[in-house]
């Protein structure tokens, strides 16, 4: 999935230097090029358009404030998405965890007992809710890797650069996430194990 205009690496560094000098046009160019990627990162964590847009604003504000800390030669997109991810995690911790627990106090295990273990009876809406509950239940890093790979459709090496972890770690987290989801969601998906 192509998101936003792509900018050459050299051009990015030149634009960041301009931002360091307070150049408004350069800043707007960077926002235009990366806004969708940042939005997707925030949305995949928060699943709310307005909140994701708030995180987009805060991410670019942080970029502007920390532009002088960016070292030439580093991966700009990885650096920016790392900021977006951290802000999304903070936002989630502050506003979502309790809210979602309140909205849906039953655990997946409780839902499983109450649910009809027949996939045919589960509507797409119910399936979506159950899947999202499973995503929420994943450990933070597993959730991030899974969402980036299958919702944002980033490659493992891109996730590795974005999260600043090795490809091997990305692979391992992805495997654990899929295994856990398979275990939790089996009653709803006609999975026998």
């Amino acid at each position: 999935m192509e998101r936003g205009r792509s900018i050459e690496r050299e051009d990015i560094h030149a634009l960041v230097r301009e931002i360091q000098n307070g150049n408004r046009e350069a800043f707007m160019t960077i926002v235009g090029a990366y806004q969708q990627r940042v939005f997707v990162m925030a949305y995949s964590m928060l699943r709310n358009k307005e909140d994701a847009l708030d995180v987009v604003q805060e991410t670019f504000l942080r970029l502007f404030q920390k532009a002088k800390q960016f070292k030439e030669g580093c991966n700009f997109q990885g650096w920016l998405l790392q900021i977006a991810k951290n802000l999304s995690v903070d936002y989630y911790r502050k506003n979502y965890r309790k809210r979602r627990e309140f909205e849906s106090p039953k655990s997946l295990d409780e839902l499983r007992v109450a649910a009809e273990p027949n996939p045919a009876s589960s509507s797409a809406g119910e399936m979506r809710d159950v899947f999202l509950r499973g995503i929420d239940k994943l450990a933070s890093r597993q959730r991030t890797v899974f969402v980036l790979r299958h919702v944002d459709e980033l490659q493992f090496n891109e996730i590795s650069e974005t999260l600043n972890i090795s490809v091997g770690t990305v692979k391992s987290l992805h495997f654990k996430a899929v295994q856990n989801l398979r275990k939790w969601l089996s009653p709803y998906m006609g999975i026998t194990s």
Partner: protein
């Protein structure tokens, strides 16, 4: 079995299309012959396919955002948040319109300094000369009492020695000029007593004062008759010392004074 275990961790990567060519082909050929692994991969595929539900939702959210307008909005927000107030140049600082402000600041500083000076001055101790020693009246009283105690003790000790000498004096001593010596010592002690009198006025020295007064009387008599002290007179003085139990009283008062060190 070993192959199943070896390939177990590659299943998710295989489904995600992240396996290298060689391992992917190895996995594909293994899945053809292994129903168990095939089933596991199918189940994982269902989980991964379920992500499409969320992906669809996100695509809708992305489509609903005005991406053309967003950069300007975000830029306005960021520059609005980080904009610093413009600094005035020196010329702008010195504009006539600013003069009342500076006058007010200067006046405020002067008045503030004056008020601080007055407040601090009121509470400050008065100027003190380096040569003057300050002590509380209580401390001075205690020092005076201690001096009086020490001088009285000294007086009593000397008196005690003189009394002892007189009490043990014999006719032989007269021949040796003992009486003249005793007279001289008595006169010295009388002079000392005059100096001690004001200090003995303290209520805590009352007992010592009584004894000292009695000793003084004895010394007065001694000094008046000492020029030709006869055996009779010597006996009379000795009996006075004995009758009044002066040596005992002196010892008691001495002991008391020694114990009552200030």
């Amino acid at each position: 079995m070993n192959t199943c275990q070896d390939l177990q961790k590659d299943r998710a990567a295989f489904l995600a299309g992240e396996l290298g060519l060689e391992r992917r082909e190895h996995m594909a050929s293994h899945l053809k012959g292994c129903a168990r692994c095939r089933e596991a991969v199918d189940e994982m595929r269902k989980v991964i396919d379920a992500a499409a539900l969320v992906r669809g939702e996100m695509e809708k959210a992305i489509a609903s955002v005005d991406w053309e307008a967003l950069p300007a909005k975000v830029t306005d927000y960021v520059f609005g948040k980080t904009a610093r107030p413009r600094r005035l140049t020196l010329g702008e600082h010195l504009r006539p319109v600013m003069m009342p402000v500076y006058a007010g600041i200067v006046l405020g500083v002067i008045l503030g300094s004056l008020a601080t000076f007055l407040v601090l001055k009121r509470h400050a101790p008065s100027a003190v000369s380096d040569n003057v020693f300050f002590a509380s009246p209580e401390f001075i009283d205690r020092v005076e009492l201690e001096l009086a105690r020490r001088q009285t003790l000294d007086y009593l000790k000397k008196s005690q020695y003189l009394h002892q000498d007189l009490a043990q004096a014999s006719s032989l001593d007269k021949e040796r000029g003992m009486d003249e010596l005793a007279s001289g010592r008595a006169k010295d002690l009388l002079a000392k007593k005059k100096y001690l009198n004001p200090q003995l006025g303290n209520s805590r020295m009352a007992k010592a004062k009584v004894i000292c007064d009695q000793i003084e009387l004895l010394f007065l008599e001694l000094s008046q008759i000492s020029d030709d002290l006869t055996g009779v007179e010597m006996k009379r003085i000795q009996s006075m010392i004995e009758d009044r139990r002066l040596l005992l009283k002196i010892s008691l008062v001495e002991k008391e004074l020694e114990e009552s060190e200030v």
